[in-house]
Symmetry: D2
């Protein structure tokens, strides 16, 4: 893969090389440039103010790691042709191209289509624009290519996506708990029977990686204040949709207005792909925030209240618990909120809500990480580690409502 | 200043303590929260994709350094009362409160009032809201307090503002050239005759600081691609104002629309302070970007062209030179641009423009950095350094136009 | 503790302040300066070439963290007098003062007295020299002071010793697996019923700390190449003692010669404290390495062989296993070594040896880490974590012999 | 250069790859392993306690940068054969192989032969041992190869030696002033007319590099306390040689004793190369420190005093001045020292001494750094920079004597 390339500055890795040709051209495409306007971790910056980095930056970082992985695997004799190398790089570059504004937060609120489906549609469209040069990348992305390890580098328990986002989110939040030895893990990768494996001496780094990921979930991504802000945003968007569907006027940038007024299904995206993608490709974080800024002055007091609270970071209280909340406890809170609620009974569902979040450090029910032992045997991680790998699913329950409602 | 405080995560310094009371309350105010939506370095992220940090983060970082400086100075016997400590902290926290969207880039384009004037107006308004508790902070900010070193910590050749932005911009761009030994410089600060001085053994760190600042100017803030993007933004905004004044309809968020249609002078801000500040306080980066996104589809082809180019990072070529451009050279380029120009002669000024930028490592004509020598004497930096400090003003000239116009 | 202090540079924390007075004077004492000549992690630099940092540096780093911990606890209302603050700082500064050359590696080989006993003796001696000013520090060190949390800061599951060595060993080895959020953990410390507790929201950082410590054990401290080098050093020293006791001449620096020829017990240290401490205080890494350099030319071929191998890093093969080695396997290796052994049967025990190392991430049988929950309850860590804390003792077995013996 | 390689951990660069074959074998040689026992920056750790890194680590770091430089230059079309790549790597690996104990400090004190001459002799010897495989490396090292840029990578104004030591010394001292953008500089290297040049856009990084180097000289390498310690070491060694030549018995490790009793010239090294190199190859920092430890108890009170002071860091006062000291001032100090001197008049020269140190940021009289401009022209750095590059030679004068002599 020695070729002329564009050099980009990255505080996480120093420099990122984007080879001229297909890969560089992809990064210049408006679809990809759009990712500059989508923050990687939604409203996490309300707790970690540095966390303003974007899907654009993440995709380039993942590309950088992919280039390293390809080099390491080739150095160990894994047969990767130049075409495959370019394709797996294109696949990782585009793996998040279908993310909408505020990434996961609004994923099924604004449009009920997953970002993976949208990523595939974007790739299909780009493949047409690039005259079929993305065929192999798409096959790898969909796990339909016989060299399975290529797909695993894009999407698996140790893929370049996770490797980059842990690094990057740690860097921009400043949370050391997510720091991983990504360079060591990548050096320890190998291919065995067309599958990705890790050499035995990398096992501690892998274990560290699994734990780092778990800690980042609870300490950053699902931090209670972040969760509160993001759930409030979901509520504001749901309210806006209800108003829009009821025919109420709402100031909103055009791309947002379109999706507020139209409920688009995955099926519609398939049948009317070009027009819908064109609309979706105009939508980003800026539309949502501009919407909130307008809605803080909306006629509807519930939407105005939620929007103003989000913008000025007057966040609801969020209680987090390892057990589901007792019905009696929830009823007590509801009583308080009802008494305080100045907006009428219809508003209640936007002022008091609950839910749960789950995370597992390592899911043995999925494809396991495989360890290549010095004796040449390959064993799943769960049979190799000194300690049992923690694979239990942890669920946390939350209950969320305005602070002022319960200030007795 | 030992008191209960809110702890904030900061990847640059680890943790930032915001003491509860006046300082914490200021950070909670919508005026201050607005700074979350104003990027510190405008469109620098088009070259350094990590540079998305905000004035909000910078203000908190400068507060952190101020707390350290106060502790160091007190440790050396400088008399700083608790009131003064709080006031100088409030002053640094609010020093950029008057910045508008895209900070310096649009400073005199959208509204012809400097951010310093607006900062003072915001402080005056906040002082009223906080019942006069900002009086001392405002006096320090305006350099009207007898302990001159307090003002110098807020605004001077070695102030906490510069110290933080060099650190922070280095961290988020990843440009090592700006890394400074801020902790060492702060440890070396002292007070002499009510003025801020640096102990002799800190001289190399100060020299490094001056050089780091100069290098950051040319390598980051005035990088030719950044300059191109920012000047294009200025041109787009000028075009939008012309259209607005001509009564043409322009989609724009309300706060932006107000300032597009009304030319507000500093005088008007003084006479109609509350109403105008209220409008200005609603304006941030999101309005500008949303404007551009709408204008990419505007009827006016010049505005549409500029907006689309900025959004999708199709930037004009910018030539940078240490000498003014020869008239004949400029004429040649103009000829090319005219021939290419598909928008009519009126568009030319938006497609070809020139200007200059200047920077000086250290301006001896301003108040000099003072060095406290071991023998007790205080000398200006320019008489102390091993080498002559480089104080020459460097000017660079630029010429900017669409790449496609000159592709012969 | 605001007082004039000596500022030391530390790449790990930036600056370390050593307050003038007792603490500074202790650092100037030859006993403490001796720690400059004792590497923190013995022969770890044979695998991680940067790991040359010393007990001197570690002791100062632990002092730095202790100062932070005291400040945090006082900020939360824990009653710590200035005398107690100084005493707990003195205790951490001196906690390793009794370490001999190559720290743990030779701890019971050269002199059969633990470093803790020797640390206490040094403190006792220093207490006399400093006119009884170390009385409180010694009481804290021996856990005889009623404010138990002070002892826990010096020696416990979350003490400043561990906190510093994980940071420092990570920095100098470059192994990210040991990076911990020490600043966050310290911010979360509190005192409850005179015991050290951690606030609930610090729980992920504590978990990370426990894991980092475990990973550092296997990846660094007990790395198989490190283990091989260190066990070879033990063997060389044992051989030298045998020769010395047999009256054979051995070139050796005087302090080393003394301990080679005399087997000193803990009892003798107590009865003849001053003379023996004086001798011990002259002994450091330099004596051992100089000994090896001389012994590489010794008449005794076994000692010469071992010394030369260590110096030139021609290390024995070390096999590491989670199970004890089968007798038949060991016999096979022994057969090979015997056939190769050019030094006679007496040499065999220096050429083939086995042993085991154990480590536990978190030992619930010891005093547990206590978590202070938001509801005010204090629970042991093992009942608080999302996952069961891994407290199983892991044992690894090793078998070590010259590579060339088994090169079939 | 894609080949199997040994991976080494390095906190500065992450990992260093040493390709198996010639380069790996060189690192395994006792001559190279000896560098593990020679600190890179002598007694600098008396001020910066982390600065214990070795010539061994530095040589490997420089190798790492050389590999990057070769890759960058090849990527830009510079013709570098595999043989040349290996040779230039071998040359940088061995460039410091001739350094003796305490590197520059004792360079002409113990043995009056420069380390460059000794490096060449070691390479010659190794070339014989490796059957002539170092011929090209030696030619490059001596600048006798027609592709001059290869020599410039090893030894020039921007060589990999300087690049690594600035990085490494900054890392281990923690002095930010030395941090350089080495990765950016290397990316900007190119070859023009067989000479090394830097692309224009790397000019700020080069300027930063020159300044960083200058600041490191005064802040670290020539720090007054470091200078004091190192000059005291020189004095101790001179005293030991005088005593040795006078036939006095001195405890000293054998390799040191040899060079104390024999004054070996460069000529003798040439005529009796093998025997003298063998002796020299046994000599390292450990011998010197062990010598000092023994001499602290020597009969000669001057040597005992100096040795004890160095070991326990009771350093002489060192006055540093930009002007030569006035004769009258020096006479006054001499008077004090004479009155205090308890060792007799013969001791005076070891108790009071002066000298000077010089440094230039950038020496235009030497081969200049060449800048490749976008127009294809190559200009020397001094004609390219915005500011005049500071090339003045700065000289500082020192005067050194025991503190206690002048405590009036």
């Amino acid at each position: 893969m020695e070729m002329k390339s564009k050099i980009l500055n990255d505080p996480v890795y120093g420099f990122i090389n984007v080879p001229y040709g297909l890969l560089f051209d992809l990064t210049e495409h408006p679809y990809f440039q759009r990712l500059r306007r989508i923050k990687q971790v939604s409203l996490t910056h309300y707790v970690y103010p540095g966390a303003l980095h974007t899907r654009f930056h993440h995709a380039l970082g993942a590309l950088h790691l992919m280039q390293q992985a390809v080099e390491v695997l080739r150095g160990k004799g894994a047969p990767i042709t130049d075409e495959e190398a370019e394709a797996v790089c294109a696949a990782i570059l585009l793996h998040d191209i279908g993310h909408g504004p505020f990434s996961h937060t609004l994923e099924h609120t604004l449009i009920n289509v997953s970002h993976e489906v949208l990523s595939e549609l974007f790739m299909e469209k780009l493949d047409e624009e690039f005259n079929g040069r993305l065929g192999l990348a798409r096959a790898i992305f969909r796990d339909e290519y016989h060299k399975k390890f290529l797909h695993q580098l894009v999407s698996g328990q140790l893929d370049m996506d996770r490797m980059d986002y842990l690094n990057r989110d740690s860097y921009f939040t400043g949370v050391h708990e997510g720091v991983i030895g990504y360079d060591r893990i990548i050096k320890m990768l190998a291919v065995y029977d067309d599958e990705l494996v890790v050499e035995e001496k990398g096992i501690y780094s892998v274990e560290k990686f699994l734990i780092a990921r778990r800690l980042m979930y609870w300490q950053v991504y699902l931090h209670k204040t972040v969760l509160s802000a993001e759930q409030m945003l979901v509520k504001a968007m749901q309210r806006a949709k209800v108003l829009a569907h009821a025919g109420r006027h709402l100031d909103a940038p055009r791309p947002l207005a379109f999706f507020l007024h139209n409920d688009i299904s995955a099926g519609q995206f398939l049948t009317d792909r070009d027009a819908l993608l064109a609309n979706f490709a105009l939508l980003d974080d800026y539309d949502i925030t501009s919407g909130l800024k307008a809605w803080a002055f909306a006629d509807d007091p519930v939407l105005a209240f939620l929007s103003d609270c989000i913008l000025n970071r007057r966040l609801f209280k969020l209680e987090l618990s390892n057990e589901p909340f007792e019905e009696s406890y929830t009823a007590g809170i509801r009583h308080h909120v009802e008494r305080w609620n100045p907006f009428g009974p219809e508003a209640l569902e936007y002022l008091l809500f609950q839910g749960s979040e789950t995370n597992s450090a390592y899911d043995v029910s999925k494809e396991e990480i495989k360890i290549l032992h010095k004796n040449g045997k390959v064993l799943p991680m769960s049979l190799t580690a000194d300690y049992g790998i923690q694979s239990r699913l942890v669920t946390k329950y939350y209950l969320c409502y305005p602070k002022q409602a319960v200030r007795v």
